[in-house]
C-alpha cells in the first residue's frame, strides 16, 4: 500500500470490519439498484404508452374546427332588447377542410422542431358488407407520409402498406372491423358517405394497431382515391398531422405556428390530457419510491459510521495526540463514506441493470407488448449513481465532523 496515511487508515478501518462495510455497501447497492429499476421500468411503461398512443395520434394536428354556435346570432348584431322572430334557422354551408394546404405544409417544413408532416382526408362513413353495416372513419392518407409519422406499415397483419399507393381500388381495414363485417383479403367492401355517395373497394390489407377503438372502426384509402370519392380537388385536406423530433415540445410548436395558421392547431397533450397526467404521475411515484429507499440507506450508513466512530473514539484521540489535525480525521471518515458510496454505486448500477433485464423478460401479452416494458437510459444510471454518492457523502459528513471535534484530552484522561 502506497496511499497517503489518511487513506491508508480509512482503508484499514474498512477492511478490518468487513461485515460492517458490506452491510453499509449493501444499503447503498439496494437503494441505487431500486432507483435504477424503478426509473427504467416507469420510463419503459411511459415509452410503451406513448408508442401505443402515438401509433394513431400525431404530436400536433391542424384541422378545420366546426363553426361556432350561431343559434343566437341576433344579439351579436343588434342592441340588447331587440325583438326578433327567427324560426328554424339554418347554417349555410361553411368551408370544409383546410384551404391552401400546400402553402401551410411548405410553411411547416421551415419549422426546425418539425420532423414529419402528412396530410389526411378524414371522413365519417358507413362500412357495408351487404347486410352488415358499421359506421367509422375513413382515412385518406399520403401512403409514404403516414408511415413516416405512425409507422403504419408495422401494423399490417396482411397485405403490404406500400401497395395502397398503387391501388386506387384498394382499401385497408382494421382487424376488428374486418371480423365484424366478415371480410377477408380480396373481398369487396362498400363505403357510404354522409353525402350519400356509395363506392365499392377491394380489401387488400388488414391492420392491427392494438387500440381497439381504431381497429374496430377505421379503414385506410389512398388520399387521391378519397378525394375522388368526395369529388374534391387535388388540394383537399381535412387534417394536417405533424410529428416533432421531441414530442414534449408540441405545445411550444403550437405557440409558434397557431398565430400564423387560420385553423385549429392542437397538440397531443391538449387533445389527451390524461396521457400526460399519467406519465407525469408515474415519474413522481418512481422518484418518490427510489428516493425513500436511498434515504433509508443513507440512515443506515449514518448509523454505521456513528457506531464506528464511537468504537474508535480512543484511537481518534490518540491520532490527534500524535499530530493528526481535525481535518485529517474528517478526511479519514469521509473517505470511508465515499468508498462505501462508490462501491455501492457501481454494484448498484450493475444489480439495477440485472433486475431490469430480468423483469424485461417477464411475459406480458397485453396491447401488443410481449414482455414488461423497460427502458435502458444511461441518464437514469448516472442519476442513481450521483444520488447514491450524495447520500453517502451527507451520511458520512455529519459523523466525520463529530469525530473531527473530539477533544483528545477528555478521552485519553478517561
Amino acid at each position: 500500500m502506497k496511499l497517503p496515511i489518511n487513506y491508508q487508515i480509512a482503508a484499514t478501518y474498512l477492511t478490518s470490519k468487513v461485515k460492517q462495510t458490506i452491510v453499509a455497501v449493501l444499503g447503498v447497492t439496494f437503494g441505487i439498484s431500486m432507483y435504477v429499476f424503478m426509473n427504467s421500468f416507469m420510463s419503459g411503461v411511459n415509452e410503451a404508452q406513448n408508442r401505443l398512443a402515438f401509433s394513431t395520434l400525431a404530436h400536433v394536428r391542424i384541422y378545420n374546427d366546426r363553426p361556432m354556435d350561431r343559434s343566437d346570432i341576433v344579439s351579436h348584431v343588434f342592441p340588447a332588447g331587440t325583438i326578433a322572430n327567427i324560426r328554424n334557422s339554418k347554417v349555410i354551408k361553411y368551408t370544409d377542410g383546410i384551404k391552401n394546404s400546400q402553402e401551410i405544409i411548405r410553411y411547416l417544413k421551415t419549422q426546425p422542431l418539425v420532423s414529419a408532416i402528412t396530410p389526411e382526408v378524414n371522413i365519417s362513413v358507413f362500412f357495408k358488407n351487404v347486410g352488415n353495416k358499421v359506421n367509422g372513419t375513413l382515412s385518406g392518407v399520403d401512403v409514404a407520409g403516414e408511415d413516416r409519422l405512425f409507422k403504419t406499415a408495422e401494423f399490417m397483419v396482411q397485405g403490404s402498406w406500400k401497395e395502397l399507393a398503387y391501388r386506387p381500388d384498394g382499401i385497408f381495414v382494421g382487424i376488428e372491423l374486418a371480423r365484424s363485417l366478415s371480410l377477408k383479403i380480396n373481398d369487396n367492401l362498400n363505403i357510404l358517405t354522409a353525402d350519400g355517395v356509395s363506392h365499392t373497394y377491394k380489401v387488400i390489407g388488414i391492420f392491427r394497431t392494438n387500440l381497439s377503438s381504431v381497429d374496430k372502426a377505421k379503414a385506410y384509402l389512398s388520399i387521391a382515391a378519397t378525394r375522388q370519392l368526395l369529388a374534391e380537388n387535388q388540394d383537399y385536406v381535412t387534417d394536417i398531422q405533424i410529428n416533432l423530433a421531441d414530442f414534449k415540445k408540441a405545445n411550444q410548436l403550437v405557440n409558434i405556428i397557431s398565430p400564423v395558421i387560420p385553423y385549429k392547431v392542437e397538440s397531443w397533450s391538449m387533445a389527451n390530457a390524461q396521457l400526460e397526467a399519467g406519465s407525469n404521475l408515474r415519474d413522481v411515484i418512481a422518484v418518490a419510491v427510489s428516493l425513500t429507499i436511498l434515504i433509508v440507506a443513507g440512515f443506515g450508513i449514518y448509523n454505521i459510521m456513528n457506531m464506528t466512530i464511537n468504537e474508535k473514539i480512543r484511537e481518534i484521540a490518540i491520532l490527534k495526540a500524535m499530530g493528526f489535525a481535525g481535518k485529517d480525521i474528517r478526511k479519514i471518515f469521509l473517505t470511508m463514506g465515499t468508498v462505501i458510496g462508490l462501491i455501492g454505486g457501481f454494484v448498484g448500477m450493475g444489480l439495477g441493470f440485472l433486475v431490469s433485464d430480468a423483469v424485461n423478460h417477464v411475459p406480458f401479452n397485453v396491447a401488443g407488448l410481449a414482455t414488461l416494458p423497460m427502458s435502458y437510459d444511461p441518464e437514469d444510471y448516472m442519476l442513481a449513481f450521483s444520488f447514491g454518492l450524495i447520500t453517502t457523502f451527507v451520511a458520512g459528513y455529519f459523523p466525520s465532523r463529530k469525530a473531527a471535534k473530539i477533544d483528545p484530552v477528555n478521552i485519553i484522561r478517561g
Binding site: 484511537e315 500524535m322 499530530g323
Partner: protein, 225 residues
C-alpha cells in the same frame, strides 16, 4: 551549559465542571534540554492536568507556554497538531496502539503523517527503533496480539519515530509489573543519555521518580520547590 527546551510561565487553569475550581495556580518553571523530569504529586494535585497543558492538547489555560523557543499559547488546533507531530512524543499509561494495524504500521504512522521521509526510510527507521527495544520479531504482528509490556515498548518506539525534542509520559509504567517498569525506565534513561531528547513523565511510582534527574512536586495546584 544546557539550554532551555520548555518554559512555562504563570500557568493558571480552571475546571468549570461540576463547579469552577482552580486546578493550576500560577505555575512557572523551565526544563533544560536532555533533562529527565518527573512530575509527582497526590491524586488530584493537578500533575496530569499540567502535563496535558504542556503537551499542547489542552489549550484552555492562562499563562504562557513555549517549547523549543516557539511560543505556543494562542495557536490554532491545527497548528498545534502539526507541532505535536514534529516535536512531541507521547507514552500513556495504557499503550493506546491502533489494534487493527501491525506493530510496524503503528510505529510508522506519526512519521507517515509528517511526510518528511520516504516510506522506505521510515520503515528502516521504525525497524531500527523496534530492534533497539527488542521487538523486531513482532513487527508484522497486529498490535493487539502483543503482551502489555511489549505494547508499551511499541508505544515508546512510536513516540520516538519523529525524533521529537520532548517525550511526555502520563504514568508510562502505571500499568506494568515491576520487571517491565524497570525495562521502560531503562529505555527512557538510554534515550536521555543518547543526547538531545528530554523526558517529562507524570508518575506516582516513587522508585521511578527517585531515579530521575529532577522531580517537580505539585500540591493543590501549587508547585513545591
Amino acid at each position: 551549559m544546557k539550554d532551555s527546551i520548555l518554559s512555562a510561565s504563570n500557568l493558571v487553569k480552571y475546571f468549570h465542571e461540576p463547579e469552577t475550581f482552580q486546578v493550576l495556580k500560577d505555575i512557572s518553571f523551565e526544563v533544560k534540554r536532555g533533562e529527565f523530569l518527573a512530575l509527582v504529586g497526590k491524586s488530584g494535585s493537578g500533575k496530569s492536568t499540567l502535563l496535558y497543558v504542556l503537551s499542547t492538547m489542552d489549550t484552555d489555560y492562562e499563562g504562557k507556554l513555549a517549547i523549543n523557543g516557539n511560543p505556543l499559547t494562542g495557536k490554532s488546533q491545527n497548528e498545534l497538531a502539526a507541532f505535536r507531530n514534529q516535536h512531541i512524543g507521547f507514552v500513556f499509561q495504557f499503550h493506546y496502539l491502533l489494534p487493527e494495524f501491525t506493530v510496524l504500521e503503528n510505529v510508522m504512522i506519526p512519521a507517515l503523517k509528517m511526510r518528511r521521509l520516504s516510506r522506505e526510510e521510515i520503515e528502516t527507521k521504525a525497524y531500527g527503533h523496534l530492534s533497539t527495544l527488542g521487538l523486531q520479531d513482532q513487527a508484522l504482528k497486529l498490535a493487539s496480539k502483543l503482551s502489555g509490556g511489549q505494547q508499551q515498548r511499541v508505544a515508546i518506539a512510536r513516540a520516538l519515530i519523529n525524533d521529537p525534542s520532548i517525550i511526555m509520559g502520563d504514568e508510562p509504567t502505571g500499568n506494568l509489573d515491576s520487571k517491565n517498569s524497570q525495562l521502560v525506565f531503562d529505555i527512557f534513561r538510554d534515550i536521555v543519555a543518547a543526547g538531545h531528547q528530554t523526558i517529562i513523565a507524570v508518575t506516582h511510582d516513587e522508585d521511578f521518580a527517585a531515579n530521575c534527574d529532577r522531580v517537580l512536586e505539585l500540591s493543590d495546584g501549587h508547585l513545591l520547590k
